[in-house]
Symmetry: C4
Subunit: 222 residues, 4 copies
């Protein structure tokens, strides 16, 4: 196993702890994967393993068809969806899946989250869209993710009656998108409970998105 794979296993293992710390997952639900740079491989959470028991060694290695290449455990039951995204979207370096409460609540109604917060304009560039209902076990979930995200700036998609998938240039960026998705899903939900949030003009959304993608943060750490 290359040192590049080992390093990614450590990163992806540590990022799963962020899902727990940010209250995005219950029991063994949820998973993070990361593409191995320069190889047709990605690493992903093993299926049904407790977050407490995850170690870098337990993070399994798969090829882009989702077949297990190395590891002592079966890969996550969502592996086919991750694999489909890596095949279809070469710029994606990380994928995250959760059933986080507020995002999944919007998903259960099949309703996109409207962009009524400047933080949403920054991170998602508009609404967070809804993808189709799809059964696990083939490429349907992956296809639904890709078909939905290709038409949007958003790195997050709400899969109907299911949960959230997020993408990013790295596994860490995809985890950030999952954290921010739940954060804005909750705030917009709470706001809607007592009335109608005020819209943000499209030109302002465009301006905020452009600035955040190009100016925010430390140049060296993006």
């Amino acid at each position: 196993m290359s040192s590049r794979v080992r390093e990614l296993q450590e990163t992806v293992c540590a990022l799963h702890a962020e899902l727990v710390r940010n209250n995005l997952v219950a029991w063994t639900a949820g998973n993070v994967s990361g593409r191995v740079p320069g190889e047709d491989l990605f690493v992903i959470k093993p299926s049904g393993v407790s977050y407490d028991d995850l170690t870098p060694e337990s993070i399994v290695v798969c090829d882009l068809d989702g077949n297990l290449v190395e590891g002592d455990h079966a890969p996550s039951s969502d592996t086919a969806a991750h694999a489909y995204v890596y095949r279809a979207m070469p710029h994606v370096g990380g994928v995250v899946h959760t059933h986080s409460t507020y995002a999944s609540a919007w998903a259960a109604r099949g309703e996109a989250i409207p962009c009524v917060l400047t933080a949403m304009a920054d991170e998602f560039g508009g609404e967070i869209p809804v993808g189709p209902f799809a059964l696990i076990g083939g490429d349907d979930i992956g296809k639904g993710i890709v078909a939905t995200l290709e038409g949007h700036r958003s790195p997050a998609v709400l899969m109907q009656n299911h949960g959230v998938f997020t993408i990013g240039a790295s596994a860490k960026a995809a985890v950030k998108a999952a954290v921010m998705c739940e954060d804005v899903a909750r705030t917009v939900h709470v706001s809607r409970q007592l009335g109608t949030p005020l819209p943000i003009a499209q030109a302002d959304i465009d301006s905020l998105y452009d600035r955040y993608q190009n100016v925010y943060g430390q140049r060296s750490s993006r």
Copy 2:
């Protein structure tokens, strides 16, 4: 005391910490029990003891009529309900009881939780049903649990105006069901606050349930 009982006391003691960690219990409310394999005994939380003060030794041993067989403390006031379940359902190896917030909120309205999330179809195979109002102190609660669960795939039952009981092949499986029950009770509640969640077709629920029960997780760790 056999080493089998001692081992189960350790497991059941540790599982109570999962109730706390997953915010399912307040103060001393809630309890986990586990059937002693091959014997007509089960172990259960002592009554009114703080979660911080639980030790494996403090977990009491009862016979299947709920009588104290070994232990320095009185058994949980819910012992009769656990005992009834073990007598009536030989395949059950663990029982959990909580007043977790969202599940109890559905229970207070006497309303089943509709199956509008794929994670619910996976784990519960349909709605989470409601059992009757029953007073503590006899077999009424136990009878209500068994009568309700016998007609459902669900390992969880919402006892009206009371809280949740869950069952499983092991105490750990019953704890998992309690964690997942509160998780879906919360997500469906939140979804319903702003509209009507979309239904999932019965054939899809059946397909998801069948797959999850038979495919998910590591073969060795089920």
Copy 3:
């Protein structure tokens, strides 16, 4: 200072950590007091001190008129209310005050929490009542607490537009009542969000209350 006072300061200091752990308080809000057995004294949180900085020595000693008897800090700004309760209710050994979210939300509407959960019947013996709006700085809050609680089984009172006061035979019992009050305030709130919780018959409430007060828990630890 007697060893009895020192011991109570340690107990009351530790119980403040329970307010934090159970998410009942923000910043320096909230306070616990305990009556010194056999003396016309009680100990209480100092005013405006961070929960992190509380030590047994910082817990101040007051007489039953609320005057500082020993301590390097000013007593809690709610001391007059605690003192009034100790003067008027000789059986009370502990008092707790919080602005916990859900209880304070009922209090802001001036609405009692209806008894629709068996855990409420157990602990509160019926609804949790509302006391009058009263300004800080004299005996008005204390009078409102006592006038309301004297007519109820409940050890908790929602003071209108303000928060919760709870009483108990000991400071620990009052903290338990504060924890359970917020727990049932939240569950009944959540239940009411989607409809009307089912009532519990008065005879059943009476039966549950009687049993819980006389049977539950370890005989030695009550």
Copy 4:
């Protein structure tokens, strides 16, 4: 770098941990700044740095135009707003910005939080007002904060579709205001979900505010 600056960096670094502990921030959102006593400088969080990675050294020093004076990182993207407040309000020693959930939910509707809790009267002296929608990147946010707060007792302003800014005599006081703002935003939200909170008479609000600002807490620690 003066010891006065170093000490303030340590204080401001530690105060960021309070934002995390009080669940006011997600990922890298949110920031605290503090004015350097006697100098035309303030210290503030670097942009896009994880809360786990903040150290006193990483807290950057800016002049009152928001230009970086010392530090290895770019200052927070909200630095211009902080700088504007320090220029316009000489009595302000600390500024905090968060997107805390409940406060931001009121902000998204452009709705002030009504003063229906005695704790709000104490801390905010009335409603928490709403400031205008403003884009990041110039003085618009700073101007909106100052124009709104100058007409109110409240140390907190809800910036429309954005989040909260709070001010204080010190960075710690501004953090306290941010914590209390979210606390009352949540309680009033929850109360409003099931009806209309009772109003508090203006004379009572005035009385509570006056007392709290002048009597509460330890004289030495204000």
